[in-house]
């Protein structure tokens, strides 16, 4: 097990290095120049000042040299400087990380709490009215963009109650109640879509497992249906569900761009889009690296969970 984890971490490191090379080169091949971006806010480009600034920032040097410098800073725990904000990239990313983690965590919690039981019920009551209702609801969840749902919820709240979630971040350590109010609505909007996906995966996995011989044997032995579902069917059906949950969590870290914008939640996704629009290379590189690291770690956790859920899987 330890060997397996070490091997996976090594592979993860190689993946991250490769990814950093790709993103670093792509950013520099894209049209525009970091110094142009700085001048953008001035509304013109002064060629003489531009050359001076290029030298000052070291962007006039060959790309491999710039990359080596960036990696050197990274090894010292420095993601580089945001050219747009003239601040260390980590200083900008750091306060946004708990915001996104909270939103993603809550959304995932909602999606699991709603999706898994709904999938089990739907499978247990296959082709009955409750199954149809749940399938229609899940299809609706997959079809509706979460930002649109969020906007509708906001309008409903504002029109009927004259209230909407706070547009500035409230830390749970300052005011837990206000913090929860701020995140519950967007988490529900996002969680609904994820729960629909989880429900459908759970349902199909359950249906497959319920056709297995050992389930039939358990039924023949007269084991209580609920016990069969919980102890024999659900655990074995969880492998694809856990995979989807893991992928969804990783997606939620960087993919909630529009939802964050609609609810004015200053998370990682919104920052990513702003940084890309402004060509803030160091910030983008830092964010990609962060999201990639989360993806890799979540995948590792999912793999480890496989072994726990199904002892037949040996991690080597």
């Amino acid at each position: 097990m330890r060997g397996y984890v070490a091997k996976r971490l090594l592979i993860a490191l190689v993946t991250l290095v490769g990814m950093s090379m790709v993103i670093f080169s792509l950013m520099r091949l894209a049209p525009g120049n970091i110094v142009d971006v700085i001048f953008e806010s001035a509304g013109y480009v002064d060629q003489a000042d531009k050359r001076l600034l290029e030298r000052e920032l070291g962007v006039d040097r060959p790309i491999p040299v710039q990359y080596a410098r960036w990696i050197g800073e990274l090894l010292q725990g420095d993601l580089g400087k945001s050219y747009r904000y003239d601040m260390r990239a980590w200083t900008i990313i750091k306060p946004r990380l708990p915001v996104t983690l909270e939103l993603a965590g809550l959304a995932l919690l909602f999606s699991i709490v709603l999706g898994v039981p709904a999938g089990v019920v739907s499978a247990a009551r296959q082709n009955r009215p409750i199954d149809y209702v749940l399938r229609v609801l899940s299809l609706a969840g997959l079809s509706m963009p979460s930002f649109w749902l969020g906007m509708v919820i906001i309008l409903l709240f504002v029109r009927s109650l004259g209230w909407m979630p706070s547009v500035t971040y409230v830390s749970p350590f300052e005011d837990l109640r206000a913090n929860l109010w701020q995140f519950v609505v967007p988490a529900l909007a996002v969680g609904y879509r994820s729960s629909a996906l989880i429900m459908r995966i759970t349902r199909s996995a359950m249906l497959e497992v319920m056709r297995e011989d050992y389930i039939r044997t358990a039924r023949a032995k007269g084991v209580w249906t609920r016990l069969i579902m919980r102890r024999h069917a659900l655990r074995n059906a969880m492998l694809p569900v856990v995979t989807v949950i893991g992928l969804e969590f990783a997606f939620l870290i960087g993919g909630l761009v529009v939802t964050e914008q609609v609810f004015n939640i200053n998370g990682i996704g919104k920052l990513f889009v702003d940084a890309t629009a402004r060509g803030d290379f160091n910030l983008i590189q830092g964010l990609v690296l962060l999201i990639a690291t989360i993806f890799v770690l979540v995948n590792l956790v999912v793999d480890l969970l496989y072994g726990w859920l199904d002892p037949r899987i040996r991690l080597r």
Binding site: M87, F157, M164, Q261, N264, N266
Partner: protein, 534 residues
């Protein structure tokens, strides 16, 4: 009996009439509360001298002071509405060649250090890029404003003298702009991008890039009894629908920076209690015609493009009914220097649309373009909705005269480099003018070789007239010259203006003395007189 009762009630009725006709006494301002509002977008930094966006000026203004400032309470800015700030008094000397400021004493920076004339010299030497300046701005958008300043002297800690190469009355207005705060000489310029050390009514409490800028009352502010507010919180809310919802839900007290009329009406329809304010903006939507690149080097083609753009259709279409028409200077009555209304009505694009399009087709035919050989034009614009909407409309208008026009959307980071290189045929652009004065507009946008003369238009004769108007002290004579320049710019199709935009703000009734000016968006955010009736 009824008559007697009427007679008895007569004094009461008289009292009532008098009471109603008496002017309502002004409310006594109350202290306290935090004003919550939103900037146009996320400020790239907190240093107004290094930026060209109102998103920086909005939150930073309340932190700083100028030598002089435009009176927030007067809607139209001009020389007559300038009020003292760090300068107690000022006077022109030596035939408007020297501008002398006598500074306030006992003013302190937010970090407790004393304010002196050295701070003024330090700031404006940096801004004008003086060879012996103590500091250099990394990006210096308004260097041109102070091109005429030869030297800044500080005979004592409370006197500053701006020595000019030639008389320039508009220097006062430039110094009164939101883009001209005085910086502390003891704080490095780079630090002022992320923190704010000013003398202003509010101190920086917290700045989170892309999230908010929070300011708190400066208890040592040199204007006694000001500010009324305990603080101002600029919350960055990117989405306009969210801005409207946040205002309606009471999470913002004021909203509207960057709004169009439709946003304003939506906000008001949801909450009829909201107070709505409309004002001109001194921001125009203009067409950049590349004077250096064929086929736009042909005056007939330039004229055809100008005539094809039906200004009334622009107003009804992308401007959503909220635009005014004029030349290079903000039209009257909101503006001070605009062309007379009768002349504006005769500008290209203002007449009968069908006739003008026929005329445009004829001009193109004369230039060798027709159905068998259509003029191919790429209309470039910035990939932002407020640019793309009028640019799409422009493409349609050009197609109506047989031009094979296509739209090119350019990413923001590439936009200004491309414009500076004149790497386009025609482009649609938005220009905000910092102050309503010809010097702030003409030299920057039309002078030969200016960094921001994005059309490459160049006329030595116009340059000469620009300098002449700039040093003309008699206002009527200056207006005459300014109108003459504007007339010629319009005739030559140098950067035709489609329309001048408007501002649409909304706030809750408890917000009092919220300032909005008609001829600039940049000079109102000090907020020292704003108060909340709560």
């Amino acid at each position: 009996m009824p008559l007697r009762r009427s007679v008895r009630l007569a004094p009461l009725a008289l009292l009532l009439v008098i009471a109603v006709s008496l002017p309502v006494p002004a409310q006594t301002p109350k202290s306290g509360g935090v004003l919550r509002t939103h900037p146009l977008s996320a400020p790239p930094s907190l240093s107004p001298h290094e930026e060209s966006t109102i998103a920086t000026v909005q939150p930073a203004s309340a932190c700083y002071n100028n030598l002089i400032y435009f009176d927030p309470a007067k809607k139209q800015e001009g020389e007559g509405t300038i009020i003292p700030e760090l300068a107690e008094r000022w006077s022109w000397q030596d035939g408007h060649r020297n501008l002398v400021f006598l500074l306030r004493k006992n003013v302190k920076w937010h970090d407790g250090k004393p304010f002196t004339s050295q701070d003024v010299k330090y700031t404006f030497d940096a801004v004008r890029g003086a060879p012996d300046a103590a500091a250099k701005l990394r990006v210096n958008p308004r260097k041109l404003w102070y091109d005429n300043v030869e030297h800044i002297e500080t005979p004592d800690p409370h006197t500053v003298v701006f020595r000019l190469k030639r008389p320039q009355p508009s220097l006062l207005l430039m110094l009164a702009s939101g883009y001209s705060p005085v910086y502390p000489a003891h704080v490095p310029l780079a630090d002022l991008k992320t923190k704010c050390v000013g003398t202003g009514p509010f101190k920086l409490k917290e700045y989170r890039p892309g999230e908010f800028v929070e300011l708190e009352r400066n208890p040592d502010y040199f204007v006694k009894g000001r500010p009324y507010l305990d603080g101002v919180k600029w919350v960055i809310v990117k989405d306009r629908s969210t801005q409207i919802a946040a205002l309606q839900a009471g999470q913002l007290d004021v909203a509207g920076s960057g709004w169009n009329k439709a946003n304003w009406e939506t906000a008001k329809s949801g909450k009829p209690d909201l107070v709505t304010i409309e004002a001109s903006s001194n921001v125009n939507v203009n067409v950049l015609v590349n004077f250096k690149k064929p086929p736009m080097t042909d005056p007939r083609v330039r004229q055809a493009v100008n005539l094809a753009l039906d200004r009334k259709a622009y107003q009804a279409g992308p401007a959503l009914g909220a635009a005014t028409f004029g030349g290079a200077m903000l039209p009257r009555p909101a503006g001070v220097w605009g062309l007379p209304e009768a002349e504006v009505a005769k500008l290209p694009g203002m007449g009968d649309a069908a006739k003008q399009k026929t005329q445009a087709k004829k001009l193109l035919a004369d230039a060798g373009f027709g159905a068998s050989n259509p003029l191919k034009l790429t209309v470039s614009t910035r990939a932002i909705a407020i640019y793309v909407d009028p640019a799409s409309w422009m493409v349609d208008q050009l197609r109506q005269i047989g031009v094979d026009a296509v739209l090119e959307q350019i990413e923001t980071g590439v936009w200004h480099p491309k414009m500076t290189r004149l790497d386009f045929q025609v482009a649609l652009n938005l220009t905000g003018i910092g102050i309503d004065d010809p010097d702030a507009n003409f030299f920057e946008n039309f002078k030969c070789g200016s960094q921001r003369n994005f059309s490459g238009y160049c006329s030595e004769d116009i340059d000469r007239l620009m300098v002449q108007q700039s040093q003309t002290l008699d206002r009527a004579a200056r207006l005459k010259l300014v109108n003459e320049i504007d007339r010629r710019l319009q005739h030559e199709g140098a950067r035709p203006v489609l329309g001048w935009g408007k501002q649409f703000y909304a706030h809750w009734p408890y917000v009092k003395a919220f300032p909005l000016h008609d001829n600039s968006i940049y000079n109102t955010s000090r907020y020292q007189d704003v108060w909340l009736d709560k």
